[in-house]
């Protein structure tokens, strides 16, 4: 449903991750093109979140390589990349967490301004103007001066999305953005993500919302036991997946 170009935004090869003897990711490969929207589905513990978190270096992979817009943040030869470089390249990625992780001591506006002021060294006036525009975009212009503890879950998550967008990322990562929300609040968050999709933002979304995955994605990845079992357009995954495991999973979801 979105326009993709051939420009490669993320390239992952042979990514492995283990905790002790437990292998969480086993030789994962992925290429993400500009404007592409990819949903990652699969059972709990299949490594979906770990994979997403490895991309932005919240988890240190144990083997494989990660290129973000051509720049290595993890090298196949295991040579370490300096932390400053990793932070610089990972800034092209924005991340939204399941539990929002808003800064409780800052207002909604303060949360959105924090990155631009502290990291991008923007003036407070510029940062505030842009932050207010972003809050308006996610429908929270009226809540700018409120602290997170006074916001609903859906509002918190929308502030978190605005906070990530304030860093002007090229790619957005969503880690189960609606899993911590009451059912009636899921819609407002998905609407914001859909609006981003219409702007051709490159996105990776780990989700349990099958309807959303089917409607919005260009590609759907099914992960199981640390592997990508199948990656295909949503119609194929949801109607005629190659793998019987996927059908079993989807049957249980509905």
């Amino acid at each position: 449903m979105s326009e993709t170009t051939d420009r490669e935004m993320i390239r992952v090869e042979g990514l492995c991750k283990s905790y002790g003897s437990l292998e969480v990711l086993k030789e994962v490969d992925l290429s993400v093109k500009k404007g592409e929207i990819i949903s990652i589905i699969g059972p709990s513990g299949s490594g979906k979140s770990t994979f997403l978190r490895s991309l932005i270096h919240l988890e240190e992979a144990s083997a494989g390589s990660i290129l973000i817009e051509g720049e290595a943040v993890r090298r196949a030869d295991n040579k370490s990349v300096p932390d400053a470089k990793i932070r610089q390249h990972c800034r092209k990625l924005g991340m939204v967490f399941q539990n929002f992780n808003l800064f409780p001591h800052k207002t909604a506006l303060g949360n959105v301004m924090e990155g631009p002021v502290t990291v991008l060294k923007k003036s407070r006036a510029d940062a505030e103007r842009e932050a207010r525009a972003l809050l308006d975009k996610v429908g929270l212009a009226g809540q700018a001066m409120q602290y997170p503890c006074t916001l609903s879950g859906g509002q918190k998550q929308r502030v978190a999305i605005a906070r990530a967008l304030a860093m002007e990322p090229d790619i957005m990562l969503f880690d189960e953005p609606t899993s911590a929300l009451d059912p009636e609040l899921i819609g407002e968050v998905l609407a914001v993500i859909k609006a981003l999709a219409e702007e051709h933002m490159t996105m990776l979304v780990v989700t349990h919302e099958m309807g959303f995955a089917r409607e919005v994605s260009d590609q759907v990845i099914f992960m199981d036991e640390g592997r990508i079992l199948e990656m295909a357009p949503p119609d194929k995954i949801f109607t005629s997946p190659d793998h019987p495991r996927i059908r079993t999973f989807l049957d249980k979801m509905i």
């Binding site: 932070r87 990625l93 967490f97 539990n99 808003l102 409780p104 001591h105 990291v119 602290y147």
Partner: protein, 215 residues
């Protein structure tokens, strides 16, 4: 009446010494506690071990003994290092309260959710930025109640400097008591301590109110 005023005046002169010690101790032991708390959560093992030794020894021995040690013991260990009485007392108090604040701040820092570090990280913030902008401001709110407790204890602990013959509230009161065979000065001293701690409590209450705007 003039006797009472004269006594009170003399005791309040001691109050100046007590206050001086109180503020010097807080001014140095709070930053010391912050630095040591960071060191105690450091990734370097040797640093953590040194900090563990510091807090264990200081918190595990009586403050009174530490005062004796710094004033009488240090000059024996390190000839030439003879501290004047008030300096010796102040140094001891700073080191002693620094150790308690280290533990309070360490607990506070470690109680901050991992998600806060992750959110800072994905915004591209460095470790120092994460600590100063995100973690420490939230830590301050959480440690206010235990820090207030320590400050109250400190007001009373200052009375220990009597053993070095420093003219604080308690010593000045005691002088009048011995001279005039009356316990009135002790009552006045108690009143002064109570008043000081009332100020401390009020101060921290205001501070807590200021931080109560969020969660």
């Amino acid at each position: 009446m003039s006797y009472l005023i004269k006594s009170a005046q003399y005791i309040l002169e001691g109050g100046a010494v007590t206050l001086k010690l109180f503020f010097i101790t807080l001014a140095f032991s709070l930053p010391l506690g912050f630095v040591c708390a960071m060191a105690k959560t450091s990734r370097i093992r040797a640093v953590r071990i040194v900090m563990e030794l510091y807090t264990s020894i200081v918190r595990g021995t009586p403050l009174l003994l530490q005062i004796f040690f710094v004033y009488y013991g240090l000059p024996i260990l390190l000839p030439g290092l003879r501290l004047e009485r008030f300096s010796a007392a102040a140094l001891t108090f700073v080191l002693n309260y620094g150790a308690y604040f280290t533990e309070i701040f360490r607990g506070g820092i470690q109680s901050i959710d991992r998600g806060q570090y992750e959110a800072s990280r994905v915004l591209g913030m460095s470790y120092v930025q994460t600590m100063t902008r995100i973690v420490l401001p939230q830590t301050i709110k959480r440690v206010l109640p235990p820090v207030a407790n320590e400050a109250i204890t400190l007001v009373k602990d200052t009375a220990l400097v009597v053993v070095l013959g420093i003219g604080d509230i308690l010593r000045n009161s005691k002088e009048i008591v011995s001279r005039d065979f009356t316990i009135v000065p002790f009552v006045i001293a108690a009143g002064v301590y109570l008043l000081m701690n009332y100020g401390v409590v009020l101060f921290f209450k205001k501070l807590e109110q200021r931080y109560s705007v969020y969660e």
